[in-house]
């Protein structure tokens, strides 16, 4: 397969996914906050809460539209750019996407219409219910796409069928409620609340800096800061859960996240560090130019497996094998897995040949061989151990940026809530400035999380089952390059338009429509 085609296909998917993820977390986070504002309005009857709700709803709408626009392309790109993948696992992967459409998208689309056009046509309570249903629809939509993504990280509930040469669903609940999926969903949704809260607090910070909309800002922050605190604490908790799932099911990703080449018991967690850019897995150079560990002995072991004495494998350990696994078995080396992967693939070829020749005995023998080695099927595609290592630098820095900013947001929201509660925020210009700066920081945190998840999973599209290089559609590289640049240009233009529209709406302020 043409390497540049694989890289351009990856680049196009990464481009659309990262653009899409600029808008989705704000939909989830701001949606929740906006629904709480409207709930307060309905409960108190205070028109100021209605005005406040409508203002944030206006910004929500601008963001939602571009989220929808970038989202449609993602769904279809599985087919257009990753057609082998679509067939090989479509029996499992397609179902969450279809359920997303039936259960979530229609709910979202229908009630968002009521949210915007139904203020005069519906009663207060029905309108409020519609707002909540739209937010629930958006969250359910995220739920199902995250189920699909979690399955790519931790393929469960399936069996390989050599008759159809694909993986087939055998246990829907194992896919929909796998521990990896549940954790991923809560981590992603709660971290989106953090972004939504940072967005609201940041804009209010700008109003306070400009000494305007003081009452509006105080009220807005009152709710947003609490959502931010709840969101960031839950995100920290589920983030820990995520790390444990990664340690268990994707040890290579964890090793890349930590820049860990040689692991061991009582492994330490890096607090900050600078990686050596020319480090190769098979040289003896120190992977770090500089690093400071968290001053708790065996903290990485504890974070990963709940015990400071647990063995955390590094990149070299995973390639060489022989270390104790969490289930008590001994890890196979890369070479052993490649060998077993090739055995599985040969068994599949022989099985298909036996099918054509109606040779039942050969079918049975090859099916047994295939089943015994299927867990390593994907390794049969890899030629060099180096191919099994994700880009360490991107994964490492994204992880540490996300964690550090996550901790920053715990402190940020507590401080914001405290001073807002004491009604002192309007006089504290340095916090107002920090609030404004925190908006891009929230986006960086959110995008970094996805970079860890997706770049850290490389070279696999489905962990251990199918590498990206064998997932792509066989289309000319020039076609993918063309669509890449078209999407880049269009998404960039639309993103700039969105920012300009939002900035104008923010500058005009919540009273603009009435004026």
């Amino acid at each position: 397969m043409d390497l540049s085609l694989i890289d351009w296909s990856r680049a196009q998917f990464a481009l659309t996914a990262m653009f899409h993820w600029l808008f989705v977390p704000l939909t989830l986070g701001l949606g929740l906050i906006m629904a709480i504002y409207e709930t307060i309005y309905v409960r108190t009857g205070d028109e100021k809460w209605k005005k406040l709700t409508k203002f944030w709803m206006k910004l929500f709408g601008v963001n939602f539209a571009i989220g929808v626009a970038t989202g449609i392309i993602l769904e279809f790109e599985f087919g257009t750019n990753w057609s082998n993948y679509s067939y090989f696992v479509g029996d499992i992967f397609g179902a969450p996407l279809a359920i997303e459409g039936i259960l979530a998208f229609f709910l979202e689309a229908t009630f968002i219409g009521v949210m915007y056009f139904g203020w005069e046509k519906f009663g207060k309570r029905f309108h409020l219910a519609s707002t909540w249903l739209a937010v629930i629809g958006a969250t359910l939509s995220a739920w199902w796409i995250l189920v699909a993504n979690a399955w790519m990280q931790y393929p469960a509930g399936m069996d390989f069928n050599p008759d159809t040469a694909r993986n087939e669903l055998t246990d829907f609940m194992a896919v929909a409620f796998s521990p990896v999926a549940i954790n991923k969903i809560f981590h992603t949704v709660t971290s989106s609340w953090v972004l939504g809260a940072a967005f609201v607090v940041g804009i209010c910070g700008w109003y306070l800096l400009k000494r305007r909309e003081l009452e509006f800002s105080r009220r807005s922050i009152k709710v947003a800061a609490i959502v931010g605190i709840v969101g960031v604490l839950l995100a920290a908790h589920t983030g820990h859960g995520s790390a444990q799932k990664v340690a268990k099911h994707q040890p290579m990703k964890l090793a890349a996240m930590e820049g860990l080449y040689r692991g061991g018991s009582q492994a330490d967690l890096v607090a900050i560090g600078v990686l050596r850019p020319d480090k190769q897995y098979d040289d003896e150079k120190d992977p770090f130019l500089f690093k400071i560990d968290v001053p708790l002995k065996g903290f990485l072991s504890w974070v990963s497996f709940g015990s400071a004495d647990a063995f955390v494998p590094g990149i070299n350990d995973i390639i060489e094998g022989g270390y104790p696994m969490h289930d008590g078995s001994t890890a196979l080396s890369f070479d052993e897995r490649v060998e077993r992967g090739k055995t599985a693939q040969q068994a599949l070829r022989d099985y298909r040949k036996a099918m054509k020749e109606n040779d039942e005995a050969s079918k049975i023998a090859n099916k047994t061989l295939l089943d015994e080695n299927m867990n390593h099927f994907g390794y049969g595609f890899l030629k060099d151990a180096k191919e099994s290592i994700p880009p360490v630098g991107i994964t490492f820095y994204s992880f540490h940026i996300m964690v550090l900013l996550g901790m920053y947001f715990i402190a940020f929201f507590v401080i914001i809530w405290f001073f807002n509660h004491k009604d002192m925020l309007s006089k504290m210009r340095w916090i107002q400035f920090i609030a404004v700066v925190s908006i891009p920081l929230a986006y960086i945190t959110s995008e970094a999380g996805w970079v860890i998840a997706e770049v850290g999973r490389q070279p696999w599209t489905i962990q251990d089952v199918l590498p990206a290089s064998y997932s792509v559609s066989n289309i000319p590289t020039a076609s993918v390059k063309t669509t890449f640049f078209v999407f880049l240009a269009v998404f960039t233009a639309l993103f700039i338009a969105e920012i300009k529209i939002m900035l104008r709406a923010i500058k005009n302020g919540p009273s603009y429509d009435e004026n």
Partner: protein, 371 residues
């Protein structure tokens, strides 16, 4: 529920979603009419404001159609989307610009200016129906591809579905080794004029404005006639043409008058088709000739759903290959050789029981919003 029943049930659901999508593309039809029906800014705002309340349902139906097709017939998803790359990309691109345009068009400081977003809406209204019509027509006239599932373990050439022309979908419009593309274009244009007729009927129903109503009725007449002039020959051609059919041993051969036989073998489809045709014609007459009736959209809309449902059903039932391969007949896709596993279809069928409730709340909200 046996496997064959589930495969046919999902083909029915895909056909139904496709039929609803064609009806809901009245939004695209309306967008393409904005310059013809609206003459001044206040009229543009009325037209776009009316469509702005409905566009998301069309968009969502398209996304659900894609997701459901992926889940139930993944081999089609991988073969067609990964092969006819340009057709699908052109369709998708037009929906990207549509989604933002309704929200951004009348916002201040929107970077590209109102005229650009209005053009984006027109562009989506022009491109999406034509290319979706072309794509649907390939269900009957075929495409150039081969499928070999064993290739997944072929290290040298691990491609399951392979397009055999370098045009990657463009050949469905401009031709390649065949002349079938002319019929694809006929259906593409027929869908374009059909959704314009529906769009005009929708304006008549939804906007109480004398001039808009008057211009819309003229558009119903023009586009309705154009639609009939294109669609009737297409339907006749379909009924007299050969079709690719799966035999008992799994091989696929060409059978004369395949779609006509499938239709004649199924009295229910004939009945639905006749009711659908009557609905479309009655809606057309209501819109074009009865100056007081505003209900044409409902008759024509229901009629369109029924006619498209029958057409799409015909593509896949009775052993027909719904995605014929012009390169290798045995690579053609049928509901039997391209569907998901029985377990997946069964699971999805349970989920599909919720669809009537989805229709119910959409209907209730639609009615209330339009009051």
């Amino acid at each position: 529920m046996d496997y064959t029943f589930l495969q046919n049930y999902w083909w029915f659901l895909i056909s139904l979603l496709g039929a609803l999508l064609v009806f809901l593309m009245f939004v695209q039809g309306g967008q393409s009419l904005v310059y013809s029906v609206g003459k001044e800014d206040s009229e543009f705002k009325l037209l776009l404001g009316s469509l702005a309340r409905k566009w998301e349902w069309t968009f969502t139906t398209l996304v659900t159609f894609g997701g459901a097709f992926f889940a139930s017939f993944p081999l089609f998803y991988s073969t067609s989307f990964g092969g006819a790359y340009w057709v699908w990309m052109i369709i998708l691109f037009s929906f990207i610009v549509q989604a933002v345009s309704f929200e951004f068009i009348y916002k201040k400081n929107n970077l590209l200016g109102n005229a650009t977003y209005k053009f984006f809406l027109f562009y989506n209204g022009l491109i999406a129906p034509i290319f979706i019509g072309v794509a649907v027509s390939t269900f009957f006239f075929g495409a150039e591809f081969v499928v070999d599932k064993s290739n997944i373990a072929n290290i040298g050439n691990p491609v399951i579905s392979q397009w055999t022309t370098a045009w990657h979908g463009i050949e469905a419009v401009w031709g390649g080794t065949t002349t079938f593309h002319l019929w694809n274009l006929v259906l593409g244009l027929a869908v374009f004029f059909l959704v314009r007729m529906l769009g005009a009927l929708y304006f008549i129903n939804n906007i109480a404005h004398e001039k808009i109503s008057e211009r819309s009725r003229r558009q119903v007449l023009i586009n309705g006639v154009a639609f009939l002039l294109l669609f009737v020959p297409y339907l006749v051609k379909l009924l007299v043409k050969d079709g690719w059919t799966e035999q008992a041993d799994g091989t696929i051969t060409v059978v004369a008058y395949k779609y006509l036989h499938s239709l004649l073998n199924n009295w229910l489809l004939i009945l639905i088709l006749l009711i659908g045709v009557a609905g479309v014609l009655y809606g057309f007459v209501c819109g074009a000739l009865c100056l007081t009736s505003r209900r044409g959209i409902w008759f024509a809309g229901i009629g369109v759903v029924l006619v498209v449902l029958v057409l799409l059903m015909l593509a896949g039932i009775d052993g027909s290959a719904y995605y014929p391969s012009l390169t290798d007949a045995n690579s053609s896709l049928t509901v039997h050789n391209s569907s998901s596993s029985m377990f997946t279809l069964k699971t999805m069928s349970i989920v599909s029981l919720i669809i009537p409730f989805v229709f119910a709340y959409i209907w209730a909200v639609w009615r209330k919003m339009d009051k």
